[in-house]
């Protein structure tokens, strides 16, 4: 698992160096975060948002297709996990699997209707699907908790038979649980991107017409890419529900979709780790500024505009060599 560069000698900082720095920081976060005024739950939220945005980025940055409705799959993941814990079984792994499947399969089905659309039409239809999911969760009081969100579930300790890991009450253990899931997920993403299929995603982004005249069934590949992307974002959604012991209808809203896109773009959508950097910036802004003013979104917006103006390739994009031509 490493940074997937689409060009040789592309980065100023070598991929393995990025990998070492990122994982060193993630693994030690609970120890140094308090020193800079942070807390472990914020770090977990960063990872969750990063995973959601990295999932989206498979589609946005690597396949070159913009979805403005990924909150739907994030939210379905969260509700799937919450509902499983509340009504089915007190099992964290089962909740994660169920939520991921719910969001991912919804993505596969919506994706079938989407793949012939392009550009702004694709984005509009994804918003519409997202809003459908939002209103269902919002209106279905008895089942989903409606406006108040889904409460009344708690993440379960991890039971390994011989021993259990209490991620329920111990925030640090839960953080490391999130780190492990995040690591497995992004490792899988890196493998996908390095596969022949992953290269076809880049091909579609770079030149759809050329891809088609290589004999590539472009719609099928976009559908698969969209579906994979939805599974990862749904997985992030399940972790979000476990983190908060709460599933929020606003997690399904198009504003959340916009946040996920913003995180990927700010961090650098043409880079593997960009969305993680974007998530650090976004969650920190959200956390610190919202403690000072309720208008925190306008600050986030301002930062977004500044980043896009001065770092058009995103924060991680700065580490990439500019095309010399």
């Amino acid at each position: 698992m490493s940074t997937v560069t689409t060009r040789a000698d592309a980065t100023v900082v070598r991929p393995w160096q990025q990998l070492v720095v990122i994982w060193a920081l993630l693994l030690t976060a609970p120890f140094w975060l308090p020193l800079v005024g942070g807390y472990t739950a914020v770090a977990a939220r960063v990872l969750v948002m990063a995973l959601a945005a990295m999932g989206l980025n498979l589609l946005l940055g690597y396949t070159g297709v913009l979805s403005f409705g990924h909150a739907a799959y994030f939210g379905l993941g969260a509700y799937g996990a919450g509902l499983t814990l509340k009504y089915v079984a007190h099992s964290t792994p089962l909740a994660i699997v169920a939520g991921t499947l719910l969001g991912g399969i919804a993505g596969m089905l919506f994706g079938l209707l989407l793949v012939r659309r392009r550009g702004v039409y694709f984005a509009m239809v994804t918003i519409a699907f997202g809003q459908v999911c939002f209103y269902i969760a919002y209106k279905w009081d008895d089942f989903t908790g409606g406006y108040d969100g889904l409460r009344g579930f708690v993440r379960a300790p991890l039971d390994f038979g011989l021993f259990t890991i209490d991620i329920t009450n111990n925030g640090m253990l839960f953080y490391y649980f999130v780190v492990v899931v995040f690591g497995l997920a992004v490792g899988l993403q890196a493998l996908i991107l390095r596969s022949p299929f992953g290269r076809t995603m880049l091909a579609i982004r770079e030149n759809e017409r050329r891809a088609r005249f290589l004999g590539l069934p472009v719609e099928k590949h976009i559908w698969i890419s969209f579906s994979i992307s939805c599974f990862f974002t749904a997985l992030a959604g399940t972790l979000y529900a476990l983190l908060n012991n709460f599933a929020d209808p606003l997690g399904l809203n198009y504003i959340m979709s916009g946040n996920i896109v913003m995180i990927a773009v700010m961090g650098g959508m043409r880079t593997f780790w960009g969305p993680l950097v974007g998530a650090v910036l976004f969650v920190l802004l959200q956390d610190y500024v919202s403690s000072m003013t309720t208008n925190w979104m306008s600050f986030v917006g301002l930062v977004f505009v500044l980043v896009v103006l001065f770092f058009p390739r995103g924060l991680m994009g700065v580490l990439q060599r500019k095309p010399s031509a």
């Binding site: 996908i192 022949p196 091909a203 030149n207 088609r212 004999g215």
Partner: protein
């Protein structure tokens, strides 16, 4: 013994866009191993004719046969799988990927690996070898790790031909392969096409404006004007043809 079907046969193909007839009742027969050039003034319908052959859109009437099979309604991607490779008048490549990645994607797609999540060692070797082979053919080995978008125009056109070759086509369609090239680049690309034709026995149909290239390479030449087939013959016959001289080649030398 029946004679083998021609590589490509176009029977009275017509393409209309509203009131405009871009290609009008054109028939053509390209034998296996032949190098056919299509010439004609701008707007003669050459690229439209190419688009009909490659399945960019279907003909309004008429048929297109490849190896004796009627492919008039077969989608472009399927025609590619049947062995039809093409390059475009305006270079179509993956600009922000390296030459190696460009050819590799083409090879993997050609071998049917495009949906695979991994390749075993033998498969990977096949892909790498085939990719090296077409880069060598296109004289791009020394630039394998450069981004295609950063290469010179001539090298980009060569890279596009390399991608078409990576699919191991039995019929190669080149839309103005030397367009916009300087003398030296034209010389290199012409040499490459000749080697493909003579040494590797490719059947090639190309559209070309540079008459030096056409008369140097082609076995036979088809002349299109205003969507119609004006003449067809060997380079000698075409240069002697009065109609062609009037319509296109120009009398005043």
């Amino acid at each position: 013994m029946t004679t083998a079907a021609p590589k490509l046969e176009v029977c009275s193909a017509t393409k209309k866009f509203g009131n405009l007839t871009a290609v009008s009742d054109v028939s053509m027969r390209v034998e296996n191993g032949e190098l056919r050039a299509i010439i004609g003034p701008n707007g003669a319908g050459k690229t439209t004719f190419f688009n009909l052959i490659t399945g960019f859109f279907p003909p309004t009437s008429g048929d297109i046969l490849m190896d004796g099979l009627n492919i008039s309604r077969v989608p472009a991607a399927t025609r590619v799988k049947m062995g039809m490779g093409r390059t475009f008048q305006i270079t179509e490549i993956f600009p922000e990927l390296t030459v190696r990645e460009n050819t590799r994607i083409a090879v993997e797609t050609g071998l049917g690996f495009s949906l695979r999540a991994w390749l075993n060692a033998a498969e990977k070797k096949r892909v790498v070898d085939a990719s090296e082979e077409v880069m060598t053919m296109a004289n791009l080995t020394s630039k394998a790790d450069r981004l295609v978008g950063e290469l010179s125009h001539g090298d980009q056109r060569s890279a596009e031909i390399a991608m078409a070759l990576a699919l191991k086509p039995s019929l190669l369609l080149l839309d103005e392969p030397t367009a916009g090239m300087g003398d030296e680049e034209t010389y290199h690309v012409t040499g490459m096409i000749r080697r493909l034709h003579r040494d590797s026995k490719y059947t090639i149909v190309l559209i070309e404006h540079d008459m030096r290239v056409v008369f140097h390479l082609a076995d036979r030449i088809s002349v299109l004007a205003e969507g119609k087939l004006l003449a067809e013959g060997t380079p000698g016959e075409i240069s002697a043809n009065e109609h062609v001289q009037n319509a296109y080649l120009g009398k005043a030398e």
